[in-house]
Each structure stands twice: as C-alpha cells, then as structure tokens.
C-alpha cells in the first residue's frame, strides 16, 4: 500500500483503486457497526455473550431436545419441551368445546373473515367501501348465525361451548366493530359546540378511560343483571361483550377525535359554505378524511383490545389463555405450564406483531412528505 502511495501520477491519470478490504463488505460493515472503537467492541462481546446465554438453551429446549411425537405424557422423555401436550390439546385450544363435527362452521367463519380482511387491506382490490360495509354489517350477522346455528338446518351451539382462539377472535372483532360507531358518535360529541352534548361525551370518555378493563368486566358481569328489569338476563358472553364495547368505544372516540382535529379548518368552512347540513358535512367531507388518517390508530387500539380480551379469564370465560390455563390443571398434564404459556404467547404474538407491523406500514404510507 505504501508503495502505491509513493508512486506519482500526472494529474488526471490516477487509476481507480478498489477501496481497502477493511472498509467495505462484511468486514467493513462489522468494523463500522460492531468494532468501531473499544467501547463498541466491549458492547459487541457483551451482546454475543447475552445471545449465547439466552438463545442456546432456548433453542435446545424448544427444538433440539423437544418431544413432538406421541399422544400421552409418557412420550415426553428427552427433558426438552413437551409439544405433545399442545398437539393433543390443539383442537381444544382453537375451538374450545365446540362440537368436533361442527368445526367446519368455525373454519368457514374464519375463512370468510380472512377474505374480508384481505379485501380491506390489499390495496389492489377495488370497491373498498363495499368491503367496509360488508365487514361492518353483513359479516357479523352471517358469522353469528354460522357459529350459533339454530337456523338453516344448522344445529344450535350454545355460547358456553365457544372457546379457545375462536372466542378470543370473536371478543376482539365484535368488540371493535360494535364499539366503532359508538366511538365515532362520542368523538363527534366531544367536538360538538353544544355544551351539554360535549359535557356528556367528555364525562363518558374520561370515565371509561380512567378505570381498568377488569373493573368494567366485573361491573358488567355483576351489576348488569341488576340494571335490567327482573327476568331479563343475558348469557355471560354477551355481558362480557357489552362491557368490552362500552370500554372500547371511549378509546376509539379518542383516536377518532385525533383524526377530526387533524382536518384543516378550511374543510369544515368549505362544507359550511356549500350549505351542507351537519350530517352531510360530517359523512361526506370530514369523516372520510379523518377516518383514513386514524386507521393506524384504530389498528393499534384493536391490537391493545386483542391483548386485553385475555382478561375475560378472570370472569370465567374460556378464551385461548383461559382454556390453556384450564388444560394445565388437568392432572394428566401437570408440570407443562411453560409449554402451554409459550404456545399461547406465540399465538398472541403472531397476531399482535402482524397488526403492529401493518399499522406502522400504513402510517408510513399515509404520512408522506414530512419525513426526514
């Protein structure tokens, strides 16, 4: 290298040398990101040690030493994870106590739901508005009859038999879909110029946002029967759902309010100048823009709700987490709590991580032009 440096070239005739090997490629990247100075190098070593400490035993336990085959706990002999437990109980974790011969109905609902979501989220498929209306109004009714049965020759399946991941999804989806209109009304109420309407909306929103969901669920399961006239009673699932919807509406209201506030005043004024009524102004001008802005926020709220549905465990509904917890108390399978909770965690993680990624991608897509 030093010899090269000493050579003299006439101006303009200097040959193009390759950059030094230590500055490009893998080595260059490592020098820049892992070993740029002694402190960085020490951190890298610490990081590598941490990775070694955490991941080697984890992979060993979860994959290398794990048991997959077999139907009873006797099959678990190698000392690693006993996935047999999850395998044996898998159907229960997914469908709860839904009758096995009717599983196709749950599957059909799930496929229908997946198709609707696909229609809504893949940008290239047209007619988003139709999809939205179908998802919000037609799908819930279809799903209710498909799952509950009792019509069109489908045998009736009581809600007490619904459980597992099915129930978790039902709680989350119904919770968000039903809370959505209420949330929009509350958000409009909070932005209203009518003092009584505004005060009522603020009181409602702050009240529900100020208390933990668990007290709301307690309330809906203990107090709701008291609020209703004698003899009227709902099943447990509906009571939990009412609690979740009332609670969730306040969160959606705040998200939507953020969107309403982000719409420039000129839009409101232009709508007024055109002589549109309040309803037309909102439905045709303001809400379409505001709701588009808050989609990432709504997805985040849904994500939080999805995690919060696990709370129904405390009031005795058998969602995914509760049914796994119950299965762990089975005397045939005592001692496999780690497998059970890791499986539950993985399922929840896939859903929540997917949603958070989607909302972040949306945010990036919708916020153009302000980025550094």
């Amino acid at each position: 290298m030093s010899e090269m440096m000493q050579e003299k070239y006439a101006p303009g005739t200097h040959p193009d040398w390759e950059p030094p090997a230590t500055e490009v490629g893998v080595i260059g990247w490592m020098r820049e990101n892992l070993f740029s100075n002694w402190r960085n190098s020490a951190l890298t070593l610490l990081g590598v040690y941490l990775v070694y400490l955490i991941f080697v035993p984890l992979i060993d336990w979860a994959i290398v030493n794990a048991d997959w085959a077999g139907d009873t706990r006797d099959a678990c002999t190698s000392g690693g994870a006993c996935w047999v437990f999850v395998k044996v109980r898998f159907n229960q974790f997914m469908y709860g106590f839904y009758p096995a011969e009717e599983y196709w109905r749950v599957n059909a609902t799930a496929v229908l739901f997946a198709l609707m979501i696909l229609w809504l989220t893949v940008p290239r498929i047209p007619l988003k508005r139709v999809a939205g209306v179908l998802t919000l109004f037609v799908f819930p009714i279809a799903a209710y009859f498909l799952l509950g049965g009792g019509v069109f020759g489908l045998s009736e399946v009581e809600t007490t038999r619904w459980g597992g991941l099915t129930l978790t999804l039902i709680l989350a989806v119904v919770g968000i879909v039903a809370a959505f209109p209420l949330g929009i009304i509350l958000a409009l109420g909070r932005r209203s110029e009518m003092p009584i309407v505004r005060a009522l909306s603020v009181a409602y929103i702050e009240l529900w946002r100020g208390v933990p969901l668990i007290t709301v669920l307690f309330m809906s399961s203990v107090m709701l029967p008291l609020f209703l006239p004698e003899g009227v009673n709902f099943d447990k699932l509906l009571r939990a759902l009412i609690g979740i919807i009332l609670f969730q509406a306040s969160y959606i209201a705040e998200v939507v309010r953020g969107g309403l506030q982000a719409i420039p005043k000129g839009q409101y004024e232009a709508a007024d100048a055109l002589g549109l009524s309040y309803g037309k102004k909102m439905v045709l001008i303001i809400l379409p823009q505001a709701l588009k802005l808050v989609i990432p926020g709504i997805v985040n709220t849904f994500n939080e709700l999805f995690k919060d549905t696990t709370l129904v465990l405390i009031i005795g509904l058998l969602d995914l987490l509760a049914i796994i917890k119950a299965a762990l108390e089975d005397s045939n399978w005592l001692g496999y709590s780690i497998e059970g909770y890791v499986f539950a965690g993985a399922v929840f993680w896939i859903f929540c991580f997917g949603m958070s990624r989607y909302s972040r991608a949306l945010e990036r897509k919708l916020h153009t032009g302000h980025k550094r």
């Binding site: 990101n33 990081g47 100020g210 208390v211 609020f227 004698e230 709590s337 993680w349 929540c352």
Partner: protein, 395 residues
C-alpha cells in the same frame, strides 16, 4: 316595505331552520334520554336489590370482615372491618404499582438507550425485547412468571442464597430487615440537612457561573457531601442500625422481610411489559430532538456529555414525560390483574372477596372504579399543568 319584510324573513323562518334553537331542542332531547336511562337503571337496581334482600348504603364498611388477607402493609386480621380491607387492598395496589414503576423506568430507559446504540447487536437485542414483550398480553406474562417460572425455584431448604442474607425460594424473597436503634434518627437528620445544603450549593454555583463564568464542580462536590457526611455521622454515632436477618427454621424462613411470590411475579411482569413501552417512548423522545440541535451544540464547542445533559435531554424530556406519565397510569391500572394470581390488591380483596361476602355490588364496584378514576384524573390534571408549563413558547 320590501326592506321590512326582508328583515322579518329570518325571524319568521321555520323553527327548524334556526341552528341555535335546534341545538337547544337537540340537547334537551339527549339529556332527557340520558336521564331517563339513568332513572330506569336506578329504578331497576333498587327493585332488584330489594328483591334479593340486599340493603343499600355504605354501612357494611363498618362490619367485621371475617377473612384473612395474605399480605398487608398495615395491621390486619379477621376482626377488622370491610373498610379496613378496602384500605389494605388500596395500599397493596399502590405498593406493587410503585415497585413496578421504579423497575419499569430503569429497565425501560436502559432498553430505550440500547435501542439507539450504534452497536448493531445491542440495538437488535433491544428491539427484540421490545417486540416480544409488547406483543404478548400482560395477563399471559403474569401467569407465565407465576405459574411457569416460580415452580422452577428451589424449595425453602435449598434456597438460593445471595450476599448479605438474601434468600430466594418458591415461597418468596427473604430480605434482611433494617432495625433502627436509638441515634439513627440523627443520621436521617444529617441526610436531610445535606440534601438541603446541596440544593443551596447548586443555586449558588449557578449564580456564580452566570456572574463570573467560573464553573464549580457541583456534581462531584454534591456526591461527596451526600455520601460522606451521612456515613461520617453513622460512624460517629456507632453504627446505630441493626439488620434482622432471615434464617431457616423448620420448613421456612423466620425473621427479616418477606416479599411474597405473588408480589414478585406481578411486579416483574408489570415492569417487563411496561418497560417495553417506556423503551419506545425514550427512543422516540431522543429521536424527536432534531439533529441540528446536536450539531449546533458541537459548533458552540460543548462537549458530548454537556450536549446530552444541557441540550438533548431537556428537549427529549418534554416529549418523554407526558407519555411516561400515561404509562405509569397504565401500569397502575394494569396492576388490577392481580386477582389472576391471588395477589391481594384492591380488585382482588375488595371487588373480589368483599363483594362475594357482602353482595354490595353497586357500592363496591363504584368505590373501586372511583379509586382508579381519581388516580387517573389527578394524573391527567398534573399532565395538563405540566404540558402548559413545558409547552414551547413559539414566536
């Protein structure tokens, strides 16, 4: 004539065409519906309660509770009243929240800064931490620590022993308890005086720097004062603090302080979960300070540490603190998941056991919600005050 009719026209317009009148009518209708609904619910509730033979009112708070509570910060046994169970639960909620907040803040700041590290591995690991713990339900994490991890700890006889008489086993964490002897009060008095002195010193140094540009090493002097003087008084008074060490007697430990496993599991789960959110807040807070600020500070000749302390952190804190407070509030509300593992917090003791014993659903749920509501309204009032104080004064 025509002018006159034109002026009259709006007044004569239909009632429904006047937005102000319409608003009044609309509000009256809304209010009537809400009040009607409230009255209907109230009526039904009274009727149902009467039917079930449950008396209304808060008189039950003076009745004897008749059940024990696993863990209490204040003296409590079966003979105390339901009012006392409320207080015990409330204090337990505050205790686990306080522990959780401290741990979550420390962990969250470490992970948040690690996330911004230039070191690839460290920043990836921090990101992994955030993505894993934020996307798994908190209740699941609480159950995981309590039901899956706790049984891995040894039995009392094989307890893990740490330096300084700390023991850990599946019955809980055992710590030495400090026992103050006469004279220890003076050490505390010294500490208080030193803190006051440090505050005065800082003010003085600041004023002197403004006046004379001379920099006084405030940090090191304060540190020396804070550690040195109390230690000195502690030594001079003949070490007036004794420790009560836990010791294995029979099947379990006696003496010292016992931290029940429910508290440990709940605090750990709350801290780890919330720390993931705090880490993201810290990251976005630091990133929100425009890079020009750093460059300007360097251009002025400030050192890296000074830049961080005087330029970056104060601006980042403006973004961080409001979100941090709301995370603290969330943590406190999330501590209500305690009944899932039997930690006796407000919800478990009061909305759970007390409700089952007395059947006073309306009063008890209202009191429980009232506690959380008061907490969150207080904190949001503080937040509004803080935001107003810290808001950027532009132009």
């Amino acid at each position: 004539m025509t002018d006159h009719t034109d002026e009259q026209a709006p007044a004569a317009a239909s009632f429904w065409r006047d937005p102000r009148k319409r608003a009044i009518v609309f509000q009256v209708i809304v209010l009537a519906i809400v009040l009607g609904l409230g009255a209907y619910i109230f009526h039904n509730t009274l009727h149902n309660l009467e039917k079930r033979g449950i008396s209304t009112g808060f008189a039950f708070l003076h009745n004897e509770a008749g059940f024990g509570i696993l863990f209490s910060l204040i003296p409590y046994d079966e003979t105390y009243t339901f009012g006392r169970t409320f207080l015990v639960g409330l204090l337990n909620t505050l205790l686990v929240s306080a522990i959780g907040i401290v741990l979550a803040t420390i962990l969250g700041f470490i992970v948040g800064v690690a996330r911004l590290s230039h070191n690839w591995i460290i920043s990836r690991l921090a990101n992994l931490y955030i993505e894993i713990f934020r996307n798994v339900p908190l209740l699941l994490q609480i159950l995981f620590w309590y039901f899956a991890m706790l049984p891995l700890l040894p039995h009392p006889r094989q307890s893990l022993a740490f330096e300084g008489g700390i023991f850990l086993n599946r019955r809980g964490l055992y710590l030495p308890a400090p026992v103050a002897e006469p004279g220890f009060g003076w050490v505390l008095v010294t500490l208080g005086l030193v803190i006051a002195a440090v505050v005065v010193l800082r003010r003085w140094a600041h004023r002197r720097q403004e006046a004379t540009w001379q920099i006084f090493p405030v940090f090191w002097t304060s540190l020396a004062l804070l550690i040195g003087l109390p230690l000195l008084s502690y030594g001079l008074l003949g070490a007036p603090l004794d420790w009560d060490y836990p010791a294995l007697k029979g099947f379990n430990f006696q003496g010292g302080m016992t931290v029940i496993p429910e508290l440990v599991a709940l605090a750990i789960a709350l801290a780890i979960y919330t720390a993931a959110y705090i880490a993201e807040i810290v990251r976005s807070g630091i990133q929100s300070v425009s890079h020009g600020q750093t460059e300007a500070a360097y251009a002025l000749g400030l050192k890296r540490g000074t830049t961080l302390r005087l330029v970056i952190i104060p601006q980042a804190m403006r973004v961080i603190i409001p979100q941090l407070t709301s995370q603290y509030l969330n943590l406190t509300k999330n501590s209500s998941l305690a009944p899932a593992i039997g930690y006796p917090d407000l919800v478990a003791v009061f909305a759970g056991t007390t409700l089952n014993q007395t059947g006073q659903a309306v009063e008890i749920i209202a009191m429980t919600m009232g506690v959380y509501l008061t907490l969150s309204l207080t904190i949001s009032a503080f937040m509004n005050w803080y935001n107003k104080r810290m808001a950027l004064v532009e132009r």
